[in-house]
Symmetry: D3
Subunit: 62 residues, 6 copies
């Protein structure tokens, strides 16, 4: 444990994911006292046509 | 808040997703008194070969 | 299939959940053409101290 | 109910998923006394560049 | 990796969970060739009043 | 968007959650260029008897 799942719009680069995973893991290890090897971060890329806010798909927003 | 996640077989059209997101958001706003802008709906398309019922992948069912 | 999961603040009544489940299921059955018996809705109640927006726990917001 | 979700690296074959779904469903039915038709298994394939352990993406590990 | 999450009605005993976790892990290790120490199983107990099938909460079904 | 969900053993204090939410949100806003108000962090506390590693519940490990 812990498992951190991040759902966000698809389109982030591998470099952004690498940097995010590093920063989040450091925070979890430092603050929650979790062992680094047991801190997992999983990115779930969501296309804009699969994400609605206020009832409108993000792909349809102007 | 709230976040609504919908896992279903891949293959629904963007029009179906748009209509579903609208109907579900209206229900959440009306019944749970959530602010529309803070009601998110996320579709997670699942291929039939990734979904099993009674131990059999949906892609293998006749 | 489909499975609809709803994460929102704890505190909704059983009546609100019953009404929400009914309305969401009707929308999924009508729009996504899913069989009613295979449309599941799962509520995940989240305490306000477990939900942060803009980096601040909802329980700490004024 | 129950819904079993399995996140793992993409790359397993359909045969492996079929075998896994069968074995897991048998265990759930036998041990948790769930009806087979109401035991669902969903695979969520995760690319290695979307999964970090100890702050490093699996795609970057040697 | 892998992470297996199981949502089912609350009420299973610790003995049932222990047996299920053992059986599922054995299946994942054997079939998906995952290392045992990196195979995690997480149970998410759902009260019957939080789970609807066909639009009706399980707690309301006769 | 984005939604960050963190599953970890129950037992972290509200102070730890507040600090974690702040650090993770800052990382997501800085690296993924997400708007702060649309960056949500949800903690899902998991009892040790609901989490197995290598087929053994954490509550049973010595």
């Amino acid at each position: 444990m812990p498992v951190v799942r991040i759902q966000m719009y698809a389109g982030r680069t591998k470099e952004q994911k690498a940097e995010l995973a590093k920063a989040i893991t450091e925070a979890v290890v430092r603050i929650a006292k979790a062992p680094p090897e047991q801190t997992w971060v999983v990115f779930e890329d969501v296309p804009r046509e699969n994400w609605a806010i206020a009832g409108v798909l993000a792909s349809e927003r102007s």
